[in-house]
């Protein structure tokens, strides 16, 4: 009998994406639940109720002020300690798009120094536009709980949909730490797998960074949306491809497998 893998998908007004995240985890055999941030703030739910925390995309709080800023501020004002403990135990955290923005604002990523300082930000796209397109990504490491079923160097395609996705580290030091430790788990590439500029890098991220996984390998943040292509039929070019597994599938399978094995 396989153990129940409990996934908490944290939302507030303006969050989108929770539906496809919920379904992706559900169809991977896990037990997902959509939980409003209020429930954590007033202690009706605890972070420790879950094995995996997922921060979905959208416009949490309208993205007024700055993408993800209001959700991050609310977390920092109430249950941030619980999240740090959760992370410290090696449990899994993932955030896509707005969720990635939240993870950088609460210091879970890149967290090169291990003290949860804010070391990076996701700034407005260089094109000064909302970008809804498909991008190619190269997987740079597999010792990350969400990427274990991929091969290093593998190229996949995922959709992006954001106006503030330009990854900017706080300085040269942080950037070189990211590089040295291979924390840039996914990079934007062109169809031939080479780093390239716009539109393959849709937002101007430094070093074409599309996603960051922390040193320990249990926290992943990325701008693209694997949860939107769990099945192949929502990929933008599926009508031209032969039967295959959805590009996003292995992110969730890896995470669920990891929890089953480890906890």
């Amino acid at each position: 009998m396989s153990k129940s893998v409990r996934v908490g998908i944290i939302t507030m007004e303006g969050t989108n994406n929770e539906l496809e995240a919920y379904l992706s985890f559900l169809h991977s055999g896990a037990n997902p639940e959509i939980v409003h941030i209020k429930s954590f703030e007033n202690r009706r739910r605890k972070v420790s109720d879950f094995d995996i925390l997922f921060f979905p995309g959208g416009f949490s709080g309208g993205d007024y002020v700055r993408a993800g800023a209001i959700m991050a501020a609310r977390i920092k004002g109430s249950f941030i300690r619980e999240i740090y403990e959760f992370e410290g135990e090696g449990r899994l955290v993932m955030g896509s798009c707005n969720g990635f923005q939240v993870l950088t604002e609460i210091g879970l990523l890149p967290n090169t120094k291990g003290d949860h300082e804010i070391e990076a930000a996701l700034a407005p796209n260089i094109s000064n536009r909302f970008e809804a397109r498909t991008v190619y990504l190269k997987i740079n490491r597999k010792d990350c709980a969400f990427l274990s079923n991929f091969k290093v160097g593998e190229i996949i395609k995922l959709p992006v949909a954001h106006a503030e996705g330009r990854f900017i580290p706080a300085g040269k030091e942080i950037l070189s730490e990211i590089s040295k430790r291979n924390l840039n788990a996914l990079s934007y590439v062109d169809p031939r797998g080479r780093e390239a500029g716009y539109p393959w890098n849709p937002n101007g991220s430094i070093m074409n960074i599309a996603g960051i996984c922390n040193s320990r390998g249990n926290v992943l943040g990325l701008m693209p949306h694997p949860e939107r292509v769990f099945y192949p039929y929502t990929e933008s070019d599926w009508t031209r491809q032969t039967e295959h597994e959805g590009m996003g599938y292995r992110f969730f399978k890896s995470a669920v497998d990891f929890v089953r094995e480890k906890f």
């Binding site: 007004e13 989108n16 496809e20 309208g62 809804a132 039929y233 929502t234 933008s236 009508t239 031209r240």
Partner: protein, 750 residues
């Protein structure tokens, strides 16, 4: 402090009655004012300001459809009705035993002409709420936009309006997390300054949870939920019922808030899931005034409303202002007493303001109070039923002259010109700002093909649920250029095009909605065009037996001497049993046979070709519903049998443009011979024949395809590498590299 004024109308003469209507912005005619005077004479008193304002709202064109009701009933309402589950705020049609699809189109033309960003955004907000009112989860948004070309003095420039509208749609649609999937952008001189913003929404509902807005038992609590009520949007419907003048009062434009709407959607759906809502309606044009009136009227009830219990944005609002305010993001729930507290609790858990403001009662009286004072005490049937107009109509002679233009020197150049035309080329500059993948259910979006070089699609498809392979398709049809020359043909062809687009993705069309766009109904010529348009629409829809489950009429789209053509934007909704059979227009393989389903025509009136070479007039092609019906059936058979690789309908720019578009997302070209048709090559390549498609067939299944299609398919040629080559027998008349086509169509967008 005087909150409620009494307005003297008993004993007043016509001139004074007109003055009262004007000074209170009621928008009522002298006849209507007389009727009201007589009513209050019978009641034995003069009306309050709130009562007059309520009548102004309820009897406005926008809310009551008084100029169009008669004609809509006659031409559209009785088609295919057995398929319709409900004609509430949105139309609802079953897709199987358990599930139904709710959908509607709405126009937000006048507000967008004044404040494009806010106008377009609240258009999106409004249409979402209409679908939500049926208890349905919205799953797709569409927008069909019409912009002018040259700036008109005293109005904002078309570029400014365009930028505002696109941004408004983007910011609202993206924030509520519903994918914006489909639609169109058309540029024509008709639309300056009369911009048109037609928005559509499709939603999915469990048939057992389908809601109506009918309050048909007493004792139901009326609860307002969502945004607070303020002064924004007062007299919005009256503005929509008048022609556009220059300096409009900005207070008539409503302010939307997607971040309030988003949790409101969740809360309402949650409450409905638990069976707590008896009836539901969203507050749009006319605010509380319209909604309460309509809910009680349709259920045969009366009711009492207490305006002091309405949560307000600003202090000091007069009761009449609260009653007719059009502040956005509000819904009215009718709830059984035993569920009242639970509804408030659910709203609170989503951080939404809610308040019980009234109750339904037996009888036919509407009473509205502010504290102890009576603001309204009227008979509901009188209030909600203006005299429908059968306005005079004048039918102008259609000038039918067959025009034979000069034969072009360079066919290739014309093809590229058409592909680069502002009404054909890519719309990525707008559409890539809309999130079309949110909710992870978009099977076919606005683009398809090789990543990085995608081409256009004909319609969009949504996966209905991750637990099955059922899909819902949505597509549109519209052609103001046809309608300008021949409103009847334009009406018929709009329906034909919407059907073609649904069939192109392999789905079966099941229902229509529409936005009927026109100038002033007080102009008999406009009414004549309006009726012709409806006749045309009917001719196709009735033959296919597909119903118009919902729709919208927008009159008064004119300013001074400038008015729009009288034309419909038709939205068609379709279903497919298996999304894995959905097709996109990009060619799939080299050496596939390419067939034309349909026949080119020498009727080129209104065509892109004629507009491009500067030819006026000509005969507008008219849909033949028998051909359409037969071809739809055969194509769906062919698609479902797996004999087709790709398919694209023929519309603006004709066969050549469709072929060109099929090369863009694929990088695969075609080699075709048009000699079998015996018409002039430019007629074959550029006519827009209606009911026609280009089909790429699986080589190994060609025989089967032909058995299904019979006389409806004619061989054009084969797909090939690199170029589009067009010959007439042995003579090559055009050869264009795929790269050149792609560059032209992309127009510099990356």
């Amino acid at each position: 402090m005087v909150r409620i004024e009494t307005i003297e109308i008993i004993g007043r003469q016509d001139r004074e009655l007109s003055e009262i209507s004007r000074s209170f912005s009621l928008g009522l005619s002298v006849e209507e004012m007389r009727r009201i005077r007589e009513y209050f004479q019978r009641e034995g008193r003069n009306p309050t300001d709130a009562e007059l304002q309520a009548l102004g709202q309820a009897w406005s064109e926008h809310c009551s459809y008084k100029s169009s009701k008669i004609h809509l009933k006659k031409y559209l309402m009785d088609i295919g009705t057995k398929g319709i589950l409900s004609r509430g705020d949105a139309g609802v049609i079953a897709i199987d035993d358990k599930t139904a699809v709710a959908f509607k189109m709405e126009s937000h033309n006048h507000p967008s002409a004044i404040e494009p960003y806010g106008g377009a955004a609240t258009g999106v907000g409004g249409i979402l709420r209409d679908v939500l009112s049926m208890g349905a989860q919205p799953v797709a948004l569409t927008d069909v936009l019409f912009f002018g070309i040259r700036k008109v003095k005293g109005f904002p420039s078309p570029k400014f309006i365009e930028g505002g509208v696109i941004s408004g749609i983007r910011d609202y649609g993206n924030r509520v997390g519903i994918p914006t999937l489909s639609g169109g952008i058309t540029y024509a001189r008709f639309f300056s300054p009369n911009v048109l913003v037609n928005v559509g929404c499709v939603g999915i509902v469990d048939r057992k949870k389908l809601l109506s807005s009918s309050v048909n038992i007493p004792g139901l609590k009326l609860i307002i939920a969502g945004g607070k009520t303020g002064r924004d949007g007062i007299h919005g419907v009256n503005m929509a019922s008048e022609t556009i003048t220059r300096e409009e009062d900005i207070s008539t434009v409503q302010l939307g808030s997607p971040i309030t709407k988003e949790p409101l959607m969740h809360a309402v759906l949650e409450a409905n899931e638990r069976g707590l809502i008896y009836a539901l309606k969203d507050l749009g044009g006319g605010g509380l005034s319209s909604v309460v009136g309509e809910m009680l009227q349709s259920g045969g009830m009366g009711g009492s409303v207490y305006l002091d219990r309405v949560p307000l944005k600003v202090q000091g609002m007069a009761p009449w202002e609260i009653w007719i305010s059009e502040s956005q993001e509000r819904m009215l729930l009718a709830v059984k007493e035993e569920n009242e507290n639970e509804i408030h609790r659910i709203m609170e858990s989503w951080d939404i303001t809610s308040s019980t403001i009234g109750v339904s009662e037996p009888g036919r009286r509407l009473r509205v109070f502010y504290g102890d004072e009576m603001a309204i005490d009227m008979d509901i049937d009188f209030l909600t039923n203006p005299q429908p107009y059968d306005r005079p109509s004048l039918f102008k002679e259609k000038r039918e002259n067959t025009v034979i233009p000069k034969y072009p020197e360079n066919i290739g150049k014309v093809i590229l010109a058409l592909l680069g035309d502002r009404n054909v080329r890519t719309r990525e500059f707008a559409v890539r700002q809309y999130d079309h993948t949110v909710r992870g259910s978009t099977v076919l979006g606005p683009f398809s093909g090789i990543v990085g070089r995608e081409g256009p699609t004909d319609a969009s498809v949504i996966r209905a649920s991750w637990d099955s392979y059922e899909g819902i398709a949505v597509g549109h049809g519209f052609n103001p250029f046809y309608s300008y020359l021949d409103p009847l043909a334009g009406g018929a062809d709009a329906v034909d095009e919407a059907v073609r687009n649904i069939v192109s993705v392999g789905a079966e069309p099941i229902g229509f909605s529409d936005c009927l766009n026109a100038g002033s109904p007080e102009d008999p010529v406009v009414m004549g065009e309006f009726i012709s348009m409806l006749r045309g629409m009917r001719s196709v829809a009735a033959r296919l037996d597909i119903p118009f489950a919902s729709g919208n009429v927008s009159f008064y789209n004119e300013s001074g001497k400038r008015r729009i053509p009288t034309f419909p934007t038709v939205m068609a909704v379709g279903k497919t049993k298996d999304i894995r059979n959905v097709l996109s227009p990009d060619f799939k393989k080299i050496s596939s046979p390419i067939y034309l389903v349909g026949l080119p025509t020498s009727d080129l009136g209104g065509s892109l070709y004629f507009r491009t070479i500067g030819v006026r007039g000509g005969v507008v092609p008219v849909s033949n519903p028998d051909f359409l019906s037969r071809r739809v059936k055969r194509i769906l058979d062919a698609v479902n049998s797996g004999t087709v690789l790709s398919i694209h309908d023929i519309s603006d720019g004709g066969l050549a443009t469709s072929l060109g578009e099929m090369t863009i997302g694929s990088g695969i070209g075609a080699s075709i011979d048009i000699s079998p048709f015996g018409l002039r090559p430019d007629f074959v390549l550029f006519s827009e024949p209606t009911s026609s498609w280009v089909v790429e067939v699986k080589k190994e299944r060609e025989k089967e395809f032909l058995e299904i299609m019979k006389e409806d398919a004619i061989l054009l040629g084969h797909t090939s590498a690199d170029s589009l080559v067009i010959s007439v027998g042995d003579e090559r008349i055009a050869s264009i590299e795929n790269e050149a086509i792609r560059r032209r169509w992309k127009g510099g967008f990356r």
